[in-house]
Amino acid sequence: MTELPFVAASYLIVIGGLAAYITSIARREAVVRRTAQAIGRERHHDPGVVSRDNAATDDDEAAEADR
């Protein structure tokens, strides 16, 4: 039964690989959730930050364009 280590190795790599990948998605999702919350807080305090839904009106001091 010399092949057992090969079989075990293969299964470990497959299961381990898939598990590692899924956790990497979860980790990246956490990062995105944190930035989303930060933007939410930011938009709440400072309307100056361009927000896509409540467009700045004409006479409003929109973010200074330095393009």
Binding site: L4, A9, S10, Y11, V14, L18, I25, R33, A36
Partner: protein
């Protein structure tokens, strides 16, 4: 943009299915008469390979759909499938090499399938690299779509040129993993494994697409409702 629960019910289902087919594959199903226990590697190697090809097909189709409809949801599907496809291709190459070592005593034998898979790994690694090098979101989606299409068109060409290259005169490797003549219970386990891998694939696809959607939602430069 509600983020997925820690582990959705679908995730649990996929996880348990994979656990079951793994245990059955390792301990319950009898060893293959000819190859012995080594043949058990097939239950993880073959599904990985088939799903890798499926993943790249999903990237191809969603790339075409993106160019046609210009909706970011297709681009998100394309990147999700490509990334998962790359992971599965990596797994396929490694388990294939292990299987090769166990059966032929060599890690690499330029077996046509393994060689093709290795080339595909590099092609789709190129796809991810192209995406990382393009800034503007919509431009990245459009250019990645074109690359996704060219990469996929390349798959059959690579497959046949490697098969031909392997030997116009030399028959391909004798051991054909998916050989229909194998024992029925083994075949059943292979199909069960394929099913469990497919469930895991779909689950990973949904999670990865949701991640990309989360990134787009947090990206201020995008218009509303992307």
């Amino acid at each position: 943009m509600p983020m997925k629960a820690r582990v959705s019910t679908f995730g649990l289902l996929a996880g348990t299915a994979l656990a079951i087919t793994t245990i059955v594959g390792l301990f319950v199903v009898p060893a293959d008469a000819a190859q012995g226990d080594v043949q058990r590697i097939m239950y993880v190697h073959v599904p990985s390979a088939w799903l890798a090809y499926l993943a790249f097909l999903v990237t191809f189709v969603s790339s075409v759909l993106y160019l046609w409809r210009r909706e970011l949801r297709f681009d998100r599907l394309a990147i999700a499938a490509a990334e998962i496809g790359l992971v599965l291709t990596g797994i396929t190459i490694v388990t294939g090499a292990i299987w090769g070592k166990a059966t032929w005593g060599k890690w690499w034998d330029w077996d046509p399938r393994l060689t093709t898979t290795a080339i595909l790994f590099v092609v789709y690694a190129g796809y991810l690299l192209v995406r990382q090098s393009l800034g503007d979101r919509y431009r990245r989606a459009r250019l990645a779509a074109v690359y996704g299409i060219v990469a996929f068109v390349n798959v059959p060409i690579v497959h046949f040129s490697v098969l031909w290259w392997r030997g116009l005169h030399q028959a391909p490797t004798v051991i054909r993993p998916g050989d229909p003549s194998i024992d029925h219970t083994l075949l059943f386990e292979l199909l069960a494994s394929l099913l469990s891998f497919t469930l895991v694939f779909i689950w990973a696809l949904r999670r990865r697409t949701a991640l990309e959607a989360g990134r787009d939602a947090a990206d201020l430069t995008l218009g509303p409702g992307t």
